[in-house]
Symmetry: C2
Subunit: 425 residues, 2 copies
């Protein structure tokens, strides 16, 4: 028989990991489940996509992170379902993980807004395999263009469309512009900067819709100064045969559409028999418990946590982290038979970078832009990176990039695919 | 019309790259072709396979390397054939590269010795995608074992067979033993070192057959001290269904066979209408020209370059590098209408490492082992790495590993496969 309550956490993203770490010394047994063996620091994923960081720099192994927590074990599994009556999490391969408390932190997935052509052909920007694929693809486009004699075809290889001008889209566009500037000038004899087009498409009427107006405007000017074409109030209608059709009928010939237009709750949310809101997220009470289930918590992108005005919090890392820590405290408080206070989100701010010396940050009552905004961005991201080694590695890469004007991780490489290599779980 | 002679080099491995760099200031136009966009520093590939180095640490982009050579251009192509009459290299996609001088430096590929079951199921250790796949696979074996309740099945996940006890096999076995020691102790609650088997199988009667007897013996003892089972005088008969059958009938249950048993000339050698030796390598004269072709050179693994006793030089990096530099000099000498002297290989030595503080090195008349051998190994490999950034990166990783007893790049990750992502060349 087990003596300590068992906490099973589904997902080792920002929310799940914070929850696990906060429970490290609590009188519980923690089982952390994820379908990857690493925690992904998604805010810097665009720097993997654009040849600045190594994949390992943003993906510390989960086992390393929880190593010192003696009450915590990790399972590399894809969670298929939860048996809420039997209180067991069930993996795709049929493994069962019994729990006394469950924390659902399975995150989100790309939202294609039911556009099948986008889902089929666009590059996603959410997971590490996406970033590696995008890096390979972009570098291959440069190589193909260098050997292409037909002007129109060459332009198709060198046109990059980013959809969505939230922080992710802005960062992809800015970093791509920088990659082109730094690399093309030096490395490609037959290409010049004016052959390239980088187009940022946004459905709303401005860049960085969730930021203050003037910060969005600054970001737009910085992007344009770096040669990015910014199209606001436009949507992607269709992708097909190296073409994007935009609302209004404009057609762009391109081999590359990166889809940063939004996310939706992970499919697991739909498989559980839990009440959900219109956004598809799991409905939770003020203590982040799923409706009707005292010991089932949901946090992060998959959970519909409300702010003071009754709006759902956006699907972002700081929200997930605060919720993860809150749930850890709530569980230990309950175990001590003390009163658990409702969750209250503390808004710390938002930030994004456009590239070298250019960032925008909105921190509580004041805002930063330009170089101060950029420095704030760097410091905050170094601070939130997990693990000394990862901070050291990212700092080293940034220093190299800043001093040498180089994005050095320019390899087109993928793991060899072996037939016998299917996931065993 | 072109005014300067055109030199086309097939392959940017050790031989081709040395040749290109040596021609950087010669009055020729150089075209360097490779099917990868990076130069692979193969001697350290096993450290990518065993979670110590990032892929980018051992694979600088070729364009970065030849950036300063204004007479050199690079083409990312798979060479399909050479039209020796028209003097043109032809890529798979049909691109043609006319030459006045041709340097064939296409290297080698894994030799499966006609064993179809090995070719189908063994892990190869030759290219970067092999190393990434091997790393993913090994880490996945650890994870599967951690969740396996059946003892026999768990042992199958934790048994690793390396075939071939040349430097590559020895290094894989030693590094794998270290990975197990460092990682399992800290990260896996249910696994212990004695559940693992690492088996090194060698067909000849000793470890490191090309080294002095006593160095091979030292390497064997070091491996055994680190828990590697060394089986000499044994061959792999067959792989099937998680089993290896060895000569003599012994059967080992395993999910992992790494094939480091040998290489053979790249398939291009067979497609060209050039005379070859019994080993399949292109026959060359004492000036490294293919028989009957004044301006076609072959170097490195693909060429049958003879030593003073008339034996073919082994397929190794130092040989290829000396041959590459020689051919560059031979071409420029000929262009100045001076006499070209025959190629003569200078034997610099061989080395291998078993792990932390343990290496063997045989340099001209003297040999080193233990920690001095290991330090010599580290210094020589740092020296031969190309590019300041790569030296810095590898040195940093080694320092971390040495001081922290860690192999940190433990991510199971592959690039997402997209349908539209087929090679365009």
């Amino acid at each position: 028989m087990h003596t300590r309550p068992r906490v099973v956490i589904i997902g080792a993203g920002f929310g799940g990991l914070q929850c696990a770490r906060k429970l490290a010394r609590a009188p519980v047994e923690v089982t952390l489940l994820d379908r990857h063996n690493y925690h992904l620091f998604t805010p810097l994923l665009y720097e993997v996509s654009t040849s600045l960081l190594n994949p390992s720099d943003v993906s510390p192994p989960i086992r390393s992170i929880v190593r010192s927590a003696r009450n915590t074990s990790f399972g590399l599994v894809e969670v298929d379902d939860v048996d809420l009556d039997a209180r067991e999490v069930i993996s795709l391969s049929g493994l069962r993980f019994p729990y006394d408390y469950l924390v659902i932190a399975a995150g989100s997935t790309t939202n294609f807004f039911s556009n099948a052509s986008v889902e089929r052909d666009a590059h996603t920007v959410k997971e590490l395999p996406d970033a590696l694929e995008f890096r390979n693809h972009v570098l291959r486009c440069f190589e193909a263009a260098e050997m292409e004699d037909d002007d129109a075809l060459r332009r198709t290889w060198l046109t990059f469309v980013i959809v969505g001008a939230g922080p992710t889209g802005v960062e992809y566009a800015g970093a791509l512009a920088e990659l082109v500037d730094l690399v093309v000038r030096n490395d490609y004899r037959r290409l010049s900067r004016d052959m390239f087009r980088i187009i940022l498409v946004e459905g709303m009427d401005r860049v960085l819709p969730s930021f203050l107006d003037r910060l969005g405007e600054k970001a737009r000017r910085e992007l344009e100064r770096r040669g990015v074409e910014v199209l606001v109030g436009r949507r992607v209608e269709e992708l097909a045969d190296d073409r994007v059709v935009l609302s209004g009928g404009e057609v762009v010939e391109t081999k590359t559409v990166a889809w940063a237009a939004g996310v939706e709750p992970a499919p697991l949310a739909g498989r559980l028999r839990l009440e959900r809101t219109g956004s598809g997220r799991v409905r939770v009470d003020e203590r982040l418990r799923a409706t009707g289930h005292d010991r089932v918590y949901a946090i992060g992108d998959i959970a519909a946590v409300l702010d003071e005005d009754g709006h759902e919090l956006p699907m972002m890392a700081p929200q997930a982290m605060q919720e993860g820590r809150y749930v850890a405290r709530a569980i230990t408080t309950e175990l001590r038979h003390k009163e658990v206070r409702p969750f209250r989100f503390r808004h710390k701010g938002v930030m994004a970078t456009i590239g070298r010396n250019a960032g925008v940050a909105q921190i509580r009552n004041f805002s930063l832009s330009g170089r101060p905004g950029w420095l704030a961005y760097l410091l905050v991201h170094l601070y939130y990176l997990i693990g000394f080694r990862n901070r050291l590695a990212v700092f080293g890469q940034w220093a190299w990039y800043y001093l040498r004007y180089d994005r050095p991780i320019r390899i087109i490489a993928r793991a060899r695919q072996m037939e016998a290599d299917a996931e065993p779980f």
